[in-house]
Symmetry: C2
Subunit: 350 residues, 2 copies
Amino acid sequence: MAVTIKDIAREAGVSKSTVSAAMNDSPKVKNETKERIKKVAERLGYVPHIGARELITNKKLNLGIMNLITYQADGDIKNSYFNQAYEPTYYDMASVIMTEISKTKYGLLIERIQIGQGELSLPSFLTSGRVAGVFVVGTMHTRDYIMRLKEYTDNVVVVGGNKSDICDCVRNDYTQAIYTAVRYLIDNGHKSIAFVNGDTLSQASDDKLLGYKLAMADANLPIDSNLVVNARFTGRAGYDAVRKIFESSKKAPTAVCFSADVMAVGAMRYFYENGIRVPDDVSIIGFEDTCLAEFSNPQLTTIDRNKRRLGLEACRLMLSKLENPKRGFQDIVVPFSLVIRGSVKDLTSK
Amino acid sequence: MAVTIKDIAREAGVSKSTVSAAMNDSPKVKNETKERIKKVAERLGYVPHIGARELITNKKLNLGIMNLITYQADGDIKNSYFNQAYEPTYYDMASVIMTEISKTKYGLLIERIQIGQGELSLPSFLTSGRVAGVFVVGTMHTRDYIMRLKEYTDNVVVVGGNKSDICDCVRNDYTQAIYTAVRYLIDNGHKSIAFVNGDTLSQASDDKLLGYKLAMADANLPIDSNLVVNARFTGRAGYDAVRKIFESSKKAPTAVCFSADVMAVGAMRYFYENGIRVPDDVSIIGFEDTCLAEFSNPQLTTIDRNKRRLGLEACRLMLSKLENPKRGFQDIVVPFSLVIRGSVKDLTSK
DNA sequence: CTGAAAGCGCTTACAG
DNA sequence: CTGAAAGCGCTTACAG
């Protein structure tokens, strides 16, 4: 049996109420008594019972994080990383949140949720009433889905998605980000630039396309609709996208902007297999800055979303909402940055 | 306010005891009453209060998973993926566990723990008494550390570590695995084979070294001690290891076996930068089968640890221990398999 | 400043 | 087969 406030009360010669007040640093308890009680608690190895506390305060002391998984055969992590959604991105985001939340009084539950296949399943930590709030990671959800979550809790923070009027959001300015990427290609002398956009179901795809169009327009470059395609967030999709572009175009583009690193690195396989050299024959740029970008050869030039900051802000928002449930929803836009590595060739100095 | 058994009792015209028994499918309740009660519960949207249940049963209804992180500056996920421990491996393992545990009555808490820097920190879900058991992912821990964990719970399952007499273990036969990898190189005609082993602190390094030695001995191949090095589990370490080997050897080895994919792919950067072609000039083989292996060019031949099976067995062990706390500790060895891709050249057909 | 009492939502003997 | 009572470990008014 674990030690309880009753044990401490007996040992310290005070009542349970006093122990409780002392452990919660209530100003009602004399400092001397408080210290004596705390010392006893320490000695006895007292750990408050979370369940009892949740019961009496009518507040949950856990938070949940849900990774929205798509394109994957039923929980099977084998089945080729190349063909499925690239999950390490979720982990990067989640890992910051884990570290931050572990410093608070909350525990952090985690669940992977498969969505996009008919009915939307909900995380069981939500439906079983375990959590005081949830972090939703990823862009592949709809407003309706968030509404479903909100039947269980009002404390929803979407990390790396889009602006929403029904929950807190932490995200990047996707239009500006892709604009910056394409602009960088243009500044390096590229004129024929393909754009491999993300999934049509992703909330960010429209913003990204706008960024591409704006950058091209600002440089007075015409847009060839054959060079703009949508693809899923997998290596395979990136591979297929560039194959289609390079096999069908009379004159291949000199550069390709991808709306996710995973597609860019997938495309590198196509280039490698076909003797098309990066960056000598084609320049490419990604978006996200995953480990894939740093481990590829050449290393991928990309846009760093600042996942650490994204996670930090998400925690801040969650904690503030928990403190002050009535405050309005917030939308935090985190700055991104261009990471120049080795996949873009400068055509101007040539 | 959430609906409680009291509400259901009133609505169904029975006592709280009966509601409780009915919801727990006790045989003591007549089927007819049971169904009536369940229907009411359903209609009212009843969700049992986990905390209350934990309190009265004196059992925790959450489990914890801890990812043992090494080589990393204080929770900072930026700071170069190339230079730090490769975490997606943890995520792969954890992801299977998430999926499995979400099907049970347990919730799953997650935490990243930095170890190997002086004092061993414990996950707060353990010290705060939230969990009924913990999954420990990774090889970078000591027996002492497991003992520390066991001060809090007897239900510890180490996933992907080594055999232990004080907890359940799910792992691979590292000696056999590396033997198989090296043997594959030998079968492809390689005679001068370097071995980049893992961190000296990893529990598996000794086993792996043995596998290398056995394979070489079985083929009557001499071991050049200059070709056997230890390295940390980072891309940078793999890079540095092969640089050292290739810069110092008079005759470079024709093949290198790495005890982790992350090091192999890190080494590919060195080869790429120095115009050493894989597999034409040097053959390499990894261990683990991470996404890095599939996304590299050429794709990395490696050993698949069968992470899915590893995670599945870990869950099975945890659940069985929870059911039957007195059973002895088990040691499950999961079969691995060789995944042949494009990083090994066949010298025999030449 | 300290203590006695009530009660959160559940389960578990025990009585009928 | 069903119900009344006790109690898990805590916090929160309230009384002194």
